[in-house]
Symmetry: C2
Subunit: 114 residues, 2 copies
């Protein structure tokens, strides 16, 4: 059994095409022995966003703090603390922080995409 | 894309050997098209608990509200809002609400164990 909290998890800036103001933590992942999927946590600064892209893996999300938008293709959906999201495989999507405070969300993926 | 909140998800009492005061919700699951794993949410009343058992599937948890104990075999570990947990396959475990308010936690499992 592993028990941890976000303030114990290293935060790493994410640098990739189309991304702005995003850091990543992995409270539960492969290194811990999680055999099938991992919990990643992304923090988006105000004005920050993830890439507007698609990929083979799904995302299962829970919004921990803040508010913003989830883009489903070109359609924005408001998201806020307490929302659960499913982004299906190959759906074009993007998370945007349109608020004044950090947008923090869990993003669970199969281990291969951790 | 699916976006939902706990108050939109049906809460079902869980009846099984060794369980007390537990309801279950599934904000993201197989019915939504999640292909590999699901988000279940359990609410334990004060004094409530899950079975003290083990099984083939892992649990990945996030504590949404309240406090209690996670049993690792016969060893209790305090848990509270904001904790992330990994219960590995075949580990004997139990969640107990030792607080005065509901203990609410996310419990992600492979789809077959939803």
């Amino acid at each position: 059994m592993k028990i941890t909290r976000l303030n114990e998890c290293q935060a790493v800036p994410v640098n990739m095409e189309g991304i702005k103001g995003v850091t990543k933590q992995v409270p539960i992942g492969k290194v811990d022995g999680a055999p099938h999927f991992s919990i990643r946590v992304f923090t988006l600064e105000p004005g920050g966003h993830t890439p507007h892209h698609s990929h083979e893996s799904e995302h299962l999300n829970y919004v921990l703090e803040g508010s913003g938008e989830a883009m489903e293709g070109d359609t924005p959906h408001p998201i806020r603390q307490g929302d659960y999201l499913l982004v299906k495989p190959h759906e074009v999507h993007q998370y945007r922080n349109t608020g004044e405070t950090p947008l923090v969300f869990m993003c669970m993926v199969p281990s291969a995409y951790e």
